[in-house]
Symmetry: C2
Subunit: 142 residues, 2 copies
């Protein structure tokens, strides 16, 4: 039988929200992306090579540009790891864009029962997931 460990259940919910972020990116679905981000908390975003963005309108404008660009490749989220912080959670993962590999972190806040994005950051990583790591899946810390 599947574990009923409460932390595992929470981690699964966070990982679901994290995957929804990448699904929205790859579907170029701005409405879905917009719905994932908090409307209650201040939010921030640091895209690779960009200056930090604050204010929700600025963050959404950046995703409008990214989702609307033909140059945006498919982004595969690999080896996500969840840190549970009560009403907050962090997912660190790799993002694979063809041959390029980024290291990323997505911060979520539990708002009215739903995990909402409050921060996303990604930057180049010298190495991707190690071959001996388990396949992209659901590893949970703590």
């Amino acid at each position: 039988m599947p574990s009923a460990n409460p932390a595992a259940i929470v981690a699964d919910a966070v990982l679901g929200a994290n995957q929804a972020f990448y699904d929205a990116l790859n579907a170029r679905d701005l409405d879905a992306m917009d719905a994932l981000w908090s409307r209650i908390s201040p939010v921030a975003c640091i895209h690779p090579g960009w200056a930090p963005l604050t204010e929700r309108d600025n963050v959404m404008q950046s995703f409008r540009a990214i989702l609307g660009s033909r140059d945006t490749p498919e982004i595969l989220c690999q080896d996500p790891q969840v840190l549970l912080w009560g009403e907050f959670a962090l997912v660190v993962c790799f993002e694979r864009l063809g041959e390029a590999v980024l290291a990323a972190a997505n911060t979520f806040r539990l708002e009215e029962g739903i995990w909402r994005l409050v921060h996303h950051q990604a930057g180049p990583a010298a190495e991707g997931p190690e071959p001996d790591l388990p396949p992209p899946g659901r590893r949970q810390l703590h």
Copy 2:
């Protein structure tokens, strides 16, 4: 008279913890760095070009290597902006290392009255602070 705005007081405390992080880096003070990081919450760190680190021991080992390296330049934190999330707070800023500029985010959690680091991430930024921004100081959002 200085403002007694409670949010401004909290933001100042977060910015103080943020500056202490850069002071510890530049002083190559591993004990000070160790004291800044949470011992209660799971922590993570993504250094420029590195894979995500989780587990406190791994994060501290990385700072031991960075602080012990002669190649580590002085790091100037510029234009920090604070997002207040209740018991959590995020500081986004630029890090200037000589000619290089990084965009960084530091996540703090209020634990027993002290803002402790739970996540640090930095990566290359194409541009630094804009000339028309106020000098490195204390801008607060929300």
